[in-house]
Point group: C2
Chain length 192, copies 2
């Protein structure tokens, strides 16, 4: 339990995070198909096997990036929700923030919500930040409505669909604002 050991562990933890951020940067710059273990190793200036001493495999690295993303998304949505919760404006703000997040960090978003994953959603083992992000949607609906979780699921599904279809060029990305307005108009508790 020497001082050296502590330093080692600290360095190891730093390198762990370095791998995660390097994977994320590489993915954001060139897409996930460009993130190979060789390029990643080169980028962190270690050899390939070092990656495997930190993560069980490439999937685990992607998962680590995704989990980092959940925290950022939760924070981003929370910042966007106005303090005075006029319900419809709150929903609009949160939805817009969600689409912003997806558009500005497409690779991160893919790691979180598109790539195959074994992260548990809506489950006891769900990462707390992920649950927190989802709750930002739930909180946009009336607390006394028993179906607000259902509402949140559908709104989230719609936003996710808009995000991925737009990102993959399947719907024109310049109509996103209009679609957002329409979605919120239809889903907010206070119609009109």
């Amino acid at each position: 339990m020497s001082v050296t050991r502590e330093r080692r562990e600290r360095e190891r933890a730093q390198r762990h995070q370095l791998i995660i951020t390097a994977a994320r940067e590489l993915a954001e710059a060139e897409g996930w198909e460009a993130v190979t273990t060789r390029r990643l190793a080169e980028r962190v200036e270690y050899s390939q096997p070092v990656l495997y001493s930190h993560f069980s495999g490439k999937d685990a690295i992607v998962r680590a990036v995704a989990i980092d993303g959940f925290g950022e998304l939760a924070a981003h949505l929370h910042r966007a929700r106005p303090a005075d919760p006029e319900p419809r404006q709150a929903l609009h703000a949160v939805c817009r923030a969600y689409l912003e997040f997806a558009t500005e960090r497409p690779a991160l978003y893919q790691a979180m919500f598109v790539l195959p994953t074994d992260v548990k959603f809506a489950h006891a083992e769900t990462p707390p930040p992920l649950r927190a992000a989802f709750d930002e949607f739930v909180s946009c609906f009336r607390p006394d409505d028993a179906r607000r979780e259902l509402f949140a699921e559908v709104v989230w599904s719609a936003l996710h669909g808009m995000a991925v279809l737009s990102d993959s060029g399947r719907i024109p990305s310049d109509g996103q604002e209009e679609r957002l307005d329409f979605l919120v108009a239809r889903f907010s508790d206070t119609p009109g």
Copy 2:
């Protein structure tokens, strides 16, 4: 221009389709990650290079599968839409049919709407069956409403989100029916 030549071309066309259906079956049975050029070649009882005399690469095979799927989806949605178009029931029927299609042919659905593609959506070069499928949604809204295309985009996005999030285990698949009901209630022209 001999008879033999005609037979050759006929055989070639058959083999072309054989490759497509083999790829699709393999994907439906074991997922797209199991569809390798070697396994596909083995399945059609030819060597690998034969695939490349029909398609420019693996992506082109996936695209061909997807395009087949567009036709089937359009037909499936059209069958589902009732002749007497009570608007809300029509929308409900088409939406349910869409989700059915996605759940029952998940690999085909992925080829069409998830995997990277260069198929043109909402464009002059859009495959007609794809446009026809989209129009089944558009037709669920009042013809005099200039924004019905927008409505259709958002409904489609929501359904797509529900389909992929459920398929990848990110929302529980047994809530799909409830979500569908809620979606249609909020989006149909005739509220209530």
